[in-house]
């Protein structure tokens, strides 16, 4: 593969990253593995002793796990929508960030469904989903949607990688034989012929278009798991779009955080420029405003109408003794903070935008928890139970351990993948010569 000067520059910068694993990376790998090990032990307990080891009980049948499930599927939108949309719109500055975005998508889509499996009492019977599927059930919709979405995201990521694999293959990198072989296989004989180029372009364009409706379907269907029930706080027609929007929003936040980490870690300031943070910050701000609008209309209608059952949930969210504090936090950190940080020119800096993203992502995780738990704690008939764990949900260490194991898996897979492929795609910069206002190609070293 012939590389132009810019590509060579970009590749040179990233070569050491994929050539050697490094002591630091080993340290992190072992750290993540240890977390996963703790999670594994928690999972063993949950399978061996039953779900009694979790905080879930007959009233609050779902808890942290489902919140994590929604969260991970949500952040997977980084690649799907951000990268897909920017691709369709031919936005030039997307080039350095699309790989990170698509990696987030694939990895988060792998981890998310694991959390829904953790809610399942009989993991030994999962094949029943395929032996006796019922199309009426939103869970069946979910199984179909998520598998399709995952396949689509993997293809989308892979299509963008083929050219890069060919570059790694031909670059005579100082890497072990198996890795060289793997690059060779994964490049599937790409030589950069016009016909090959055309095919990849058409497929990528198609996938970019397809991935967007797919992503929207996935989170809508996910929201309908709740929306289709007769429960207050769930049974709402806004849930589909609300979930989709929250997902894109949190995905953008995670993308900004990932960009910051990579820029710091691999010193990619010339590629992941301040402009990227600001532009993604703008996207985040717009999404934040829309998310705030959705939140406002959702809770305003429930509160204003104040049907008895609805009101029970609203009261829990609006009272400080219950979830009021957390609800306030989700609105301040999840809506107001990111909008302000990006809107005010003085704070519109990569570091601050990243911090705002961090709080926003946490706030959106808390928000998912607040969607699940208070509703389940508000039963139609009075609970009249004396067992505290049946009345109020509180997650046990098993659930937390598995939650952190999920996050650790996310980081671990990210680490492994970023040691295998360059996180800034090289081939993307091939076809276009550098123009004066093009921010996608390296300008100068900071």
């Amino acid at each position: 593969m012939e590389l132009n000067q810019y590509q060579k520059d970009i590749f040179e910068k990233q070569k050491p990253v994929i050539e050697n694993y490094g002591k630091k990376t080993w340290g992190w790998t072992i750290f993540f593995l240890l977390w996963i090990l703790v999670g594994g032990y928690a999972l063993y307990l949950q399978v061996a002793d039953g779900h009694v080891v979790t905080g879930m009980r007959d009233n609050v049948v779902w808890g942290l796990y489902i919140a994590n499930f929604i969260f991970f599927i949500g952040i997977s939108y980084a690649g799907a929508v951000i990268s897909g949309l920017l691709h369709i719109l031919h936005v030039e500055w997307r080039k350095p960030i699309i790989r990170i975005a698509e990696m987030i998508t694939v990895i988060a889509t792998m981890i998310g469904p694991v959390f829904i499996l953790l809610c399942v009492g009989r993991l030994d019977r999962l094949h029943h989903l395929f032996l006796y599927p019922r199309l009426q059930s939103p869970i069946t919709w979910d199984v179909l949607a998520i598998t399709t979405y995952f396949t689509g995201s993997v293809i989308f990521l892979y299509l963008a990688l083929i050219k890069d694999f060919a570059i790694y293959r031909d670059a005579k990198l100082n890497i072990p034989k198996w890795k060289q072989k793997l690059y060779n296989i994964l490049a599937i004989g790409y030589r950069g012929t016009p016909s090959q180029k055309r095919h990849i372009k058409i497929s990528t364009d198609l996938m970019a278009i397809m991935i967007i409706p797919l992503a929207i379907i996935v989170h809508s269907v996910l929201s309908w798991i709740f929306g289709m029930t007769l429960r207050p706080g769930w049974h709402s027609s806004i849930f589909g779009p609300y979930f989709v929007l929250a997902a894109i929003y949190s995905g953008t936040g995670v993308l900004i955080m990932a960009m910051w980490v990579y820029r710091k870690m691999y010193k990619l300031n010339s590629l992941l420029t301040d402009k990227h943070f600001v532009y993604l910050g703008y996207i985040m701000m717009v999404l934040g405003a829309a998310y705030g609008y959705f939140t406002f209309s959702e809770y305003l209608t429930a509160w204003f109408g104040s049907a008895k059952w609805d009101n029970e949930v609203i009261e829990k969210l609006f009272t400080l003794e219950y979830y009021g504090g957390w609800f306030l936090f989700t609105n301040i950190a999840g809506i107001i903070l990111p909008i302000l940080v990006v809107a005010i020119p003085f704070t519109r800096k990569p570091g601050l935008i990243t911090i705002a993203s961090f709080f926003m992502v946490i706030a959106l995780w808390v928000k998912r928890y607040l969607i699940i738990v208070p509703t389940l704690e508000s039963t139609l008939l009075p609970m009249q139970d004396t067992r505290p764990e049946y009345i109020k949900y509180s997650a046990t260490w098993v659930e937390w351990a598995l939650t952190f194991a999920g996050i650790a898996t996310f980081f671990l897979l990210f680490t492994l993948l970023s040691k295998f492929v360059t996180i800034i795609p090289i081939s993307e910069f091939g076809d276009k010569e550098k123009t004066a206002d093009d921010t996608s190609v390296p300008v100068k070293e900071n």
Partner: protein, 323 residues
């Protein structure tokens, strides 16, 4: 008595063969089952029982080879899914007679071998608004005609039968608990641990009609005891109630019975202005409530003599304020 001698010879093969015949024969007569799974040789006790073999012969065997089993999977899985043709089970709960005697609860627990805290049938103390009078409200599964739980099950483990019952097949259930989230009445319970049962019950053949044995990681709930209906018996909650609160019967036959009296279903719900709980949810319950008008017992009667732990449940409502 040739056959009897053969059995007394106690050749194991013959025993199993006969036991199989007995099994088939008893299926027809209801509540008997053979103990063919027992490994130890059974000593005959001399008491003879006459049974009909599939060939139409009368067989006489020692009663020691039989054991009485209350819950028996008397129907196939397919039949348990389809339900009883021509039936439409219905229940009427007379709120004016309930004094929270809790006999229904304990009878239900006993019949289904449920631990004390897992109540398929619960009695709530309702108080609809600040000024309203509190009343006792027994609640089973409503076996809705538009069941939200059945709609959401991804594997068809919970299903609606032609006789109106909503049952669960706990050998099919994957334990996703979606049905529990979907049921607005909090009827369903989950086996969070391995359920504790007598060994005989735990080893029994499972049927969705009996719900026994219970299994860890699966959902269960009130089943209206179809195994008893097949034998022409009323559910244990109905039988156990000292005040005749529960009327159980068949809507097609238009009769319901509380054990003491059998009345016309339509007449009863007409005369007493029956209602269904939260009709506006559109679930179409098969349980009707007779309003707590002209109550036979003061509500305190169901509270005063309760053990402290149970009292705790109803304290808030009893000591003023809406629920």
């Amino acid at each position: 008595m040739k056959q009897q001698e053969e059995i007394n010879d106690n050749s194991r093969r013959d025993f199993i063969k006969t036991a199989a015949i007995v099994g088939i024969a008893t299926a027809a007569c209801g509540s008997l089952a053979c103990s063919c799974s027992s490994k130890q040789p059974v000593q005959p006790i001399g008491e003879k029982v006459k049974l009909l073999s599939p060939e139409g012969e009368i067989v006489e065997i020692d009663s020691a080879y039989l054991n009485h089993q209350e819950h028996m999977a008397i129907v196939s899985k397919l039949e348990a899914r389809e339900g009883m043709a021509g039936k439409k089970f219905v229940m009427v709960v007379d709120l004016s007679r309930c004094k929270n005697a809790r006999k229904c609860v304990s009878a239900c627990q006993k019949w289904h071998y449920r631990p004390e805290e897992t109540e398929w049938l619960t009695v709530k103390l309702m108080k609809d608004s600040d000024k309203a009078a509190p009343y006792w409200f027994p609640k089973q599964c409503f076996h809705c005609d538009n069941p939200p739980c059945v709609k959401v099950c991804p594997v068809d483990a919970t299903f609606k039968r032609q006789d109106g019952l909503v049952l669960i097949d706990n050998e099919r259930c994957i334990g996703c608990k979606f049905c529990m989230a979907a049921c607005p009445y909090s009827t369903r319970v989950f086996n969070w641990t391995d359920p504790v049962m007598p060994e005989a019950i735990a080893n029994q053949q499972y049927s969705p009609e009996t719900g026994i044995p219970a299994r860890v990681g699966t959902v269960e709930k009130c089943d209206f005891c179809p195994d008893r209906s097949r034998e022409g018996l009323l559910p244990p909650c109905v039988e156990a109630c000292p005040n005749g609160v529960f009327y159980f019967g068949d809507e097609n036959e238009d009769t319901v019975s509380n054990g003491d009296e059998t009345v016309s279903f339509t007449q009863l719900i007409k005369d007493r202005a029956a209602y269904r709980f939260q009709e506006e949810l559109g679930t179409k319950p098969r349980v009707y409530y007779l309003p707590p008008k002209d109550r036979q017992f003061p509500v305190e009667r169901g509270y005063e003599n309760l053990p402290d732990q149970l009292k705790e449940r109803f304290k808030d409502v009893m000591e003023g304020g809406a629920e």
